[in-house]
């Protein structure tokens, strides 16, 4: 099931696993990505804590954890090709995967319709 945040991350949730990436809106917002500072697998994060840092040609932005959990995988290709994040479509522009510690937090994310409504308001 796909969820979204108001800061333009998508979160694909499957059971206790979640894959997190940037939406097209985030890609347009940021410009070309030049570097991604990724956490190490095994790192525990709480919701709203910094998960990764993304540098584009004009800005450094923090990626905050939309859900609490443990980092289980990172998108290794971003180390050499960070531009993947802005060149690929939503599903391929992923950053990392979490093993969720509190799946009920998913209720606080937006579903597709709510996210689209949010974008339309802006």
């Amino acid at each position: 099931m796909m969820y979204f945040t108001k800061t333009n991350e998508w979160v694909a949730v499957e059971g206790r696993r979640a894959r997190i990436g940037l939406t097209i809106a985030a890609q347009e917002h940021l410009g070309d990505v030049t570097f991604v500072d990724l956490p190490s697998p095994g790192k525990n994060v709480k919701r709203e804590e910094i998960l990764a840092t993304i540098e584009s040609v004009k800005a450094v932005i923090e990626l905050y954890a939309p859900l609490s959990g443990t980092v289980t995988a990172i998108h290794e290709a971003l180390r050499d090709k960070p531009e993947i994040l802005t060149e690929k479509q939503d599903g391929e522009a992923w950053v990392l995967e979490l093993e969720l510690s509190d799946p009920s937090e998913v209720d606080q994310l937006l579903d597709q319709a709510a996210y689209e409504a949010f974008l339309a308001q802006k």
Binding site: T34, F35, D37, S56, V57, K58, A59, I61, E62
Partner: protein, 261 residues
């Protein structure tokens, strides 16, 4: 750099936006947030030049702050109307374009002048060697070609529940490529003199004329008013604390490692 981060923390605590215009003594080399110092710097050259090093919280490449105007701004995203990075960047840099026009130079954003340039957006180890679509360009006298004048970079962060923007910029009065290159590995050195400076454009006025124009256009373009601000004791304590735990440490300056809380 500690002063700049203290500005962000002050705004996060509910303070008003802060705009700071400053210069460097001694002249200093600043590195981008994720720049690989150990790959790009010639450590012998840095020592020989007795060059102080700092690392910015903003991204991009190395900047030599000799004779220059450096500015920083801390505000909330809401203060700028919740604009995207690109939108806010254009708004915040527009005071530079207007200042250069005031001084009689043709100026504009690269995307409006040079959108088809093949090197637009190419990452370079030196800030002034690269060019991207929202860099400010001026037409230079002798060759009539467009050159970048100064560099700007933004950081966005969330602190104490507030969405914040921090922006850095630097405009060289006089580039010193020789001194900069002496601190860099050959592979990191720019080819030729890729960007302009105020002296090469024929600027001979006192520093205060540019500062006055910056202030005028910055306030007008953002449609805001400003008051002079003197940092108080608690702010200065924050600066000292940040300097001691982060900005004066090699783990941040050379390796970009944030201090452990």
């Amino acid at each position: 750099m500690a002063f700049d981060e203290a500005m962000v923390k002050d705004v996060a605590r509910g303070g008003s936006p802060i705009f700071r215009l400053y210069s460097w003594d001694p002249f200093t080399l600043s590195l981008g947030r994720f720049q690989k110092a150990r790959e790009d710097l010639d450590t012998w050259g840095v020592q020989e030049m007795n060059m102080p090093l700092v690392r910015r919280m903003t991204g991009g490449g190395a900047l030599y702050h000799g004779e220059d105007f450096t500015y920083s701004l801390a505000c909330t995203q809401e203060d700028l109307g919740n604009l995207t990075v690109k939108e806010s960047f254009r708004l915040l840099c527009s005071f530079l374009v207007d200042t250069w026009k005031d001084l009689g130079w043709e100026a504009g954003f690269a995307r409006d002048i040079d959108a088809g340039a093949p090197d637009l957006g190419v990452k370079t180890p030196v800030c002034f060697a690269g060019r991207e679509e929202l860099d400010v360009l001026v037409r230079t006298g002798s060759s009539q070609s467009w050159k970048k004048l100064g560099g700007n970079a933004q950081k966005r962060l969330r602190h104490q529940g507030r969405e914040l923007i921090f922006q850095h910029g630097s405009v060289p009065i006089r580039n010193d490529w020789k001194r900069l290159n002496a601190c860099l590995q050959p592979s990191a050195r720019p080819v030729g003199e890729p960007s302009a400076d105020l002296v090469s454009l024929g600027w001979t006025n006192p520093r205060s004329t540019v500062e006055d124009r910056f202030r005028h256009h910055f306030l007008r373009n953002l449609d805001i008013q400003a008051v002079n601000w003197e940092p108080e004791g608690s702010f200065l304590s924050d600066v000292r604390h940040l300097a001691s735990i982060k900005y004066l440490n090699g783990s941040w300056t050379l390796d970009g490692l944030e201090p452990r809380e």
